[in-house]
Amino acid sequence: MTSRKLELFVGFFVALAIAALLLLAMKVANTGVAGSDQSYQLLAKFENIGGLKVRSPVKVGGVVVGRVESIKLDPESFQPVVTLDINSSYNNFPETSSLAILTSGLLGEQYIGLQPGFVDENVEILKNGDYIEDTKSAIVLEELIGQFLFNRGNQ
């Protein structure tokens, strides 16, 4: 086998491997599509975050506008503080907006639903680092059952 042909085959092999890596990175793992875009951060305190995880989606009417960036516990109030990475193209949510932790389907993953609030002349637009005050916690099944049994007992 001539040296030229050999190098051609090896080059083809390496090119094929690079194409496979690109497929895995772009199409399978979807790197950089959310990360490379400009984003800004909003914070929110919840009573209970349930099964929310880092990288869970933030949705407005079913459209993903961002992801959960981190979840920490406030050292004074002992409440979970969730940092949201919101895509910069959605930068006009009013401060009256509310958050709720929802579940997709009966057994699906938990995500944050953002409900945009009303706009008024003295309502400001949320900026980087702002807190969203109006939050609804995740529904914990045990608490729900407990409440139901308690109400039945009262009747």
């Binding site: 092999f13 496979a20 890596l21 895995l24 399978v28 979807n30 790197t31 989606p57």
Partner: protein, 259 residues
Amino acid sequence: MLKQIQQLGANTLGTLQGLGRATLMLFGALWGRPRPLKNWHLYMKQIYVVGVLSLLIILVSGLFIGMVLALQGYTVLAKFGAEQMLGPLVALSLLRELGPVVTALLFAGRAGSALTAEIGLMKATEQLSSMEMMAVDPLRRVIAPRFWAGVISMPLLALIFNAVGILGGHLVGVDWLGVDAGGYWSAMQANVDFQQDVVNGVIKSIVFAFIVTVIALHKGFDAVPTSEGISQATTQTVVTASLAVLGFDFVLTAVMFGG
């Protein structure tokens, strides 16, 4: 009874000695400044023999393993009405486990055995000794290019295996069984993390490449220089490399995904 205990001790010492000889061989081959540019054609030749010639078996088995995964996964997932999770199932099992492990096993059978037989025959026909006579170090001339070719080729083969397997899963899941194509890819993208899954899979395949190549080279280099000795060495390469890969896979999985 006494003889058996003696045998056990001899085997243990033999294994330890083999491990030591393999390490010394590797040091001898890689010690000093590597000069890949000077011996460019040697490296090219070995990457061709070890990597390019293994391409066909990797492509075909990757395609079929992806197809089988999709078929088996679909029947179970359909019972729970979770067909859209077929994409993550195929992608995660390939990227984390099957890609690196099956590629390493195929690589041990296809390329590892060939390396052992080639070097064993070089030793039997005293080509290695004659190289030493000519003041050419056989470790650097014969072992080093084969080692680097194996360590470079196998991760690339594993990447190709993963990509082809996921496309095979798409073929069966989407085109034959009717899973929604958008759901297949979007659920996959939502569940596969580049760092956690793709990069860890590549790290696994680099470790396996090192293990398989070193075992194959060592068995060939240490083979008894007879036709029977070479056949034994070739068998041992496939058996030892496969067991080592499966053992190390458990350890790596426990470290990477266990916590």
